[in-house]
Structure formats: C-alpha cells, structure tokens
Amino acid sequence: MNKIKRYGVLLIALFCIQFTYSQWTKEKGKGYYKLSAWYLNTDQHYTGSGDIDPNATRSYFNLNFYGEYGISKKWNAIAYIPFFSRTTQNDILSGTTGQVLREGEAINSIGDIELGITYGILNKNSWALSSTLKLGIPTGNDSGGSDGSFQTGDGEFNQLIQLNLGKSFSISNLPVYSKLYLGFNNRTNNFSDEIKTGLEIGAQPWRDKLWLVAKFDVNQSLNNGSIDATNAQGNIFANNIEYVNLGGEIAYYINQKIGISFNYTSAISGRIVAANPSFSAGLFLDVK
C-alpha cells in the first residue's frame, strides 16, 4: 500500500460533516435523507508544523446521499454515499510568459462509502445517549491522476466507534439541542488511529421552519501509524492529520418533510490539511 498516494481524499473526509438537526435516534420506519453537493477549493494548507503554506489550487466536489433510517426504536442505520466525486487541479501558468507550465487535471469517480449503525442507549426526559459504529468502505479511487494524488478514496478500511450525548432544551421558548460526541477511529494500512470529538448546537428560531446549527469538531491523531515519507518511497501520503473545524448550517423546511440546507465548514487550525473552507448545499427529506 506504500505505492498508494493519499492526500486529497482525506480533505474530503474531514469536511463532509452531516447535520440531522437533532440528537435522538429515529423511530422505526422514520428517517432523514439528504442529497447534497459539496465543494472545497483549496490553495493553501496547514503544514506539519501548523503553519499555512500555499499550494496549487485543487478543488474537490461530490454529489452525495446521506441517510438515517430507524430500523427499530433503538437501532438506526446510517449511510453516506458520495456517488459522484470529482477532483481537479488548476493549470499552472508562467506569470512571465503566460505559457502553461503544467496542465491541470481532473478525475471523476465514486467516493468512499460510509455505512454505520447507531444504538440508542438512553432516551430519558431531555437527555439522549447513543453509540455509533461507522465503517469507511474504500470504494473510491485511491491513485488517480498522473501522479496518483487525485484520489476520491483512501484505499483504507477504517472503523469509527463513537459515543453521542445530547440534551434538548429551550431558550426564550426557542427549541435548542446540543450534542457532544467522542469517537475512536481505527485505521488500517499503517495509518495512525484517531480520536474524534466535537460539539454541536442547534436552535430553531422559526418553529418548524428554520434550524441554525453550529458545530465544532476536533480530530487528534494518535501518531501510532508507521507510514510516513521515509518509508513511502517518495510517494504521497497524509498520515497524522489533525484539525479543529468550525462549521455552521442553515436548514429551511419548505414543508413538514422537505427542506433545503447550506453548510459552511473551515479548519481554524490543523496539520497536513486544507486551510480553506468547504461549502455544501442539500435537499433533504425528514420523515418524522
């Protein structure tokens, strides 16, 4: 696997954050489904020392489906399917002569699929506790483009186990929820494992119509993977990635079930990760 080049796909994984506007597991037969377009255009990155350096402009785009379905009162199935992913890099032009020094590139493919299951441990009064197991299936292209770095997948099967704690409450009669999560991501192919944690707060200033959500996410590498530049034979890798993300989402219910959403997420610090914001827009179906 040392020959496999992994960089861009990790950017995608970091910024594709899903919001479901609640903490609670879905009742049997209920669900939340969203079709989204996600976009990241990056011309700078956080280096290994946490500084920001420039890079050639790359863009990552995908069309994805996200769904949560209530199998039973306590069990929910989760799926994230980036069914179309596109990675591009700009042409590099001489500022002196205007000639193309390096042709841009683009690849299209399916991305890495995530499948998971959530179990509702506790749902009492305004509190909810659940656990999630999410599997990262390496269905994407992990070595696209002329140098192999145009990936839409990382070629690595990872398993994330996560505990979610939520509470609903109200502020000035506005429905509000907050969610705290803590997860361990077991990564294969000599990549370092990761601790993931975060906080999400959502409020409904316009009852049954509008959700405003803010999210704070942290990814901390355990630095226990052996892959790095010294053993990757000069090929591209991205291990021991770390970031602190801030994100926000606005969701507007067109009717009781259907709505549209917009998301903005950006890393405010990190290591070996894009230092530009990502955007997404989606159409969702909320079957309550």
Partner: protein, 230 residues
C-alpha cells in the same frame, strides 16, 4: 420555482466552480548567457570552440544570435561561432553578447594565452547550500562534481542535511529557474531525510543547471532551493 429548480440553482454554481482554473506563478529571472565548457588558459596557436547557451527570462534554453569579441585581438581572436584562435602570449577578455527585446545580455571571461597552459583536466566540483523557502524543514550543504571518464555528475549531501518527513511527495530537481520545475531535470523522489546521501545524475553537464530545487509534487509548490556555486 419548484423544488427541482431550486435545487439546481444551488448545485449548478458548485459544479461550475469545480472546473479546471488557472494558477499563475511568479517565475521571472534575469536572462543569462552561460558558457557550458569554459577554459581560462590556452596554448599559443591553438583553437577552442566555446559552447554557449542563452537562458530566457523563465530559465528556458532559447536560440539567440551571439556576438563574440576579444578585447586584445593580437593575443587571441574569436569568430562569430565562438571559435577561439590563440596567437601570442598574453591576456584577453572574451565577451559574448546578445540583444533580445532591446535588452543586451553579456558574458565576459578572461583568457590567458601561454606557452605552458595547465592541461590537467581535473573534474570540476561545485558546491552550495539548500535552504527552505516554506514552513517545512529543509537544510544542508552539498557538492556537485563531475565523475571522471563519464558524462555523469555526482550530487553529494553532507551530514548537516535535513528534510521534513511530514511533507507529502517531496522531489528534487536541477533547474535554471528556482521558482519552477518547467524545463527542470528531475532527480526523483526524496527518500533520504537526514544525513549524507548521493545522487548519480547521468549525461548531465556541470554547467547545465544553476540551482537545486525541492518541490512538493501534489501541492505543486516550491519547498526550498540552493544555488550551485562555482
């Protein structure tokens, strides 16, 4: 506007934005004339053909009309093709020049005509120091030397060499433009990140390039460089 139309209003700008755009890099350098087979001494009544290359303002080799002159034609003359003819003992300055876009570029060097020229052909050795131009660690000193009885070069790094292992896809190049890998010669991916190591560079002249360039391939960005000094 129905839901489908609204959805495409949101999606379309994102699709358009994912098209391939253009990045422009600042890659201007001063144009240069370079003698690739210099000598400093020649015997009386000998001839020597100089090879000269014009590098344009992005370090790219380009054809140019060269004017050759000798400051002391009683000692040596030089024709329009760069062929030197020595006449008698003494010193002269040889100048090559070209004018492109109203800019005149010159290269001058001294020649001594002597009865006993130093004909011991020692391999030329150049040296330099690499330094980071980014946030990534890169440092060290190096020598670039001709290998005897071959057209190859040996690039040797000293004990003080260090490169960042966190950087994805680090490559090293020989180049005439320290801001660009266009027209550069790749020495391949960096596999050694600390201490002494060497590269054998086949079929390359010691005067063919002016800089070492460290480049991150996936980011397409310069990491550091070092001037190859005489």
């Amino acid at each position: 506007m129905n839901i489908k139309k609204r959805y495409w209003v949101f999606i379309l700008p994102l699709i358009i934005a994912s098209c391939i755009g253009e990045d422009i890099i600042a890659d201007f350098i001063e144009p240069e004339l370079r003698i690739t087979n210099p000598i400093t001494e020649i015997a009386i009544s000998e001839s020597y053909q100089f090879d000269i290359v014009y590098f344009n303002n992005i370090g790219q080799e380009e054809n140019a009309d060269i004017d050759w002159t000798s400051s002391n034609t009683s000692v040596a003359t030089i024709d329009s093709n760069g062929l030197l003819m020595s006449i008698t003992e003494g010193n002269t300055i040889i100048t090559a020049s070209t004018t492109i876009a109203d800019q005149t570029i010159e290269e001058s060097f001294p020649i001594t005509v002597t009865t006993e020229p130093d004909n011991t052909q020692q391999p030329i050795v150049k040296s330099g120091t690499i330094a980071t131009t980014s946030s990534y660690l890169l440092q060290g000193s190096f020598t670039l030397s001709e290998l005897e009885d071959s057209n190859d070069l040996l690039l040797s790094f000293e004990d003080d060499y260090q490169a960042d292992t966190a950087l994805p896809g680090l490559y090293v190049y020989l180049t005439n433009n320290p801001s660009s890998i266009a027209n550069a010669q790749s020495l391949g991916p960096v596999n050694i990140f600390n201490g002494q190591h060497q590269y054998v560079i086949p079929n390359t002249g010691i005067n063919d390039f002016s800089h070492l360039l460290y480049w991150c391939e996936p980011f397409s960005v310069k990491v550091g460089d070092g001037t190859i000094e005489d």
